[in-house]
Symmetry: C2
DNA sequence: CTACTTTATTTACTTAGTAAGTAAAGTTAA
DNA sequence: TTAACTTTACTTACTAAGTAAATAAAGTAG
């Protein structure tokens, strides 16, 4: 959050309609600054104005709020075998979306081309003019460099140092930022989810693998990718694709869970439920608890959100976790630790990617058209 | 790193003497901006100027560098039973220091008073005028709030929500920032140590307890406290002061190590060496390896630095770690992972605290006297 | 001695704000 | 009714911190 525009937009996102006077108090800006910035934002059709509640005393306030249709972002959620594209508004609400599947061995260049084609279709179907798209957010199933340009490593998909941002910018002509999928969804939960008051949040995504994203909000906000799937829970255990032995992912992800159930066609919504009936479950659950409690000890999240196949786990699973986890973490963490299911509407993946794009291309400094209107104008 | 002054000072700290032209290229500032800022810094006696190496072509550059005696910070390292005070220059070099011991049950107010008294003595002995002290950095053995004002929880010392920053500001009249000890030392290693090229670093501090600090450098720099001592390595194990069972600290910290050696008077420099000869060692070492590999998996440091009693461990210990750890972390981490001893000169604790103070009161935005000369002047 | 290259400075300007005063829009009470 | 008061919002004049572009400085190469 760098400039005044960003401070005001961020406050309006998190705090809802606010009077200019309250904005000044909340952001630390002068009232003059707030007036100016709001005028700029109003000129750009980014704000609504409405009467606030009548005050006991003094001039009544007019509250400003962000116009949800003041701009849009495109978002793409990439999995090893599927891409989902969406157009979202400034509330991170999905206005149009569609998905395509591909073989996991498809070259990334082809995946980008196909996803870009689908994106053009989705944009057309949404009837949003191309010019009001602020940018593109891409979620990838692996680690990303500091600037959000390159997917450095996706263990599951087998990708390495793929410059997705550059590739999508070339294909679609939109400024692009990429992010780790689980971290992006964690950010969306922290921003738009039911527990947005939390100071920090760990989002666990169970699917083909098991990954997690950690978000800390506040002044020093940050997100990080958490390789919980490759925490070693059984040092002498079976070999894992990551190169280690006895990683959690070898026990607690879709394939091994289906393996222990003994059926390959269990729908993933029923996976945990079915696994809980097997004799292997106590051991598997213990491994999960072990990796999770260590993660909590080291990162100290206030809130754990269960996503992917964990979101559809039976209540008994969530209850068990709530009963067992607190005893295995430090007391200062125990008092606050909440465990909940995803609170965002499906599809969650594009929601996360959209959230990252909104942050970068809207909330951090305001839309680029506002920040630098003169540079282009001066040149002309 | 917010403003131009901060960018230039930070670059000079990390990159040594640099010409104004190179500073402009490195920081992204305009050459005019660099000239102005360097003039301001020169006026404040903060810079040295010296001829650069003769160029093949063009006007020869004059290189500027930070004058180590352009300002000083006070630093205090607080342990449960000891306080060490130092005065350091802008290179984070200790110019004068002294320590005092106290009973662990001493009230914090008394500890602050005693430490402040000692600080006045150390300042006097250093012959540094009080007015050239930029601020105070305090290292504490526990977690700290986001602003570096309150020690929220020190398990070992039994402190809770102690507002050390406020207390020391009242006692000494210097702007104060507090930080977690191991994290502060990690930061010092990342800044001034032999491995300052590392992108991220985990500093492990073995003493009465075992704690760690993690630093990530670069654009999104951050430090965090890592409670490696309370990673559960033996779920059914003995009760720990943190409230859990079978924490690493119950096996791998000074008291339990002395316990397994069977002598209470082993000097801490010889602790690991002696412990390695006992029959319990393979199990203890395995526990340590387990907690450490999980920490590496979750945080992904490029570099592990061994501090405290690990710094004086025999070579055989370090070699064993180098041999055993890589196989137990993910391949993308394995290729880079380096394991080394502390590279900073003793006393390391005050060095860390000084580093945090220097960051806050000098490198981030330049000294406060430069940033806001007019506000006070205008008022007068 | 002139052309060239690179470093450093100066001048004029821009951006993003602040401080302080003023106007606006209501309530309360004599 | 009208003056006093409270709070919001806006206007004006100013400042801090930088940029762009032109210029000066200090050397080398031919």
């Amino acid at each position: 959050m760098a400039n005044g525009i960003g401070k005001i937009l961020t406050h309006l996102r998190d705090g809802g309609p606010t009077s200019r006077a309250d904005l000044a108090r909340a952001t630390g800006l002068s009232s003059a600054g707030v007036t100016k910035i709001c005028a700029t934002l109003s000129d750009a059709k980014l704000l609504h104005e409405a009467a606030g509640k009548e005050p006991a005393l003094g001039r009544p306030a007019t509250e400003v709020s962000i116009r949800a249709d003041g701009g849009y972002v495109l978002s793409i959620h990439l999995s090893p075998a599927q891409a989902r594209v969406a157009v979202c508004n400034l509330d991170s609400k999905v206005l149009a979306d569609d998905a395509l599947s591909y073989d996991p061995s498809t070259p990334v260049a082809t995946i980008v081309d196909k996803a870009a084609d689908l994106a053009r279709q989705v944009i057309a179907s949404s009837a949003i003019p191309y010019g009001s798209l602020l940018g593109l957010g891409v979620g990838v199933p692996g680690s990303v460099d500091e600037d959000g340009r390159v997917n450095t490593h996706s263990v599951l998909a087998g990708w390495r140092d793929v410059p997705f941002a550059q590739m999508f910018e070339a294909a679609l002509g939109l400024p692009t930022v990429i992010a780790h999928n689980a971290s992006a969804i964690a950010m969306a939960e922290a921003r738009y989810g039911a527990w947005k008051a939390s100071e920090s949040l760990l989002y666990i995504l169970l699917g083909k693998g098991i990954g997690a994203g950690f978000v800390k909000t506040g002044a020093h906000e940050r997100t990080s990718i958490v390789e919980i799937g490759h925490v070693v829970v059984n040092p002498g255990g079976p070999h894992c694709r990551c190169g280690g032995h006895g990683c959690l992912e070898r026990y607690f992800s879709e394939d091994p869970l289906r393996g222990c159930i003994g059926q390959t066609d269990v729908p993933h919504e029923a996976l945990i439920s079915a696994a809980m009936d097997t004799s292997d479950w106590p051991q598997i659950y213990e491994y999960f608890l072990q990796a999770l409690s260590t993660t909590v000890t080291l990162l100290g999240p206030e809130m754990i959100v269960l996503g992917g196949d964990l979101n559809t786990a039976p209540d008994a699973f969530v209850e068990a976790l709530r009963a067992d986890l607190p005893a295995r973490v430090m007391p200062q963490q125990r008092t606050k630790l909440a465990i909940e299911r995803t609170s965002l509407p499906a599809p969650v993946g594009v929601h996360g990617a959209a959230c990252v794009a909104l942050e970068r291309f809207f909330f951090a400094h305001g839309p680029a058209t506002l920040s630098r209107p003169s540079k282009a104008a001066t040149r002309a």
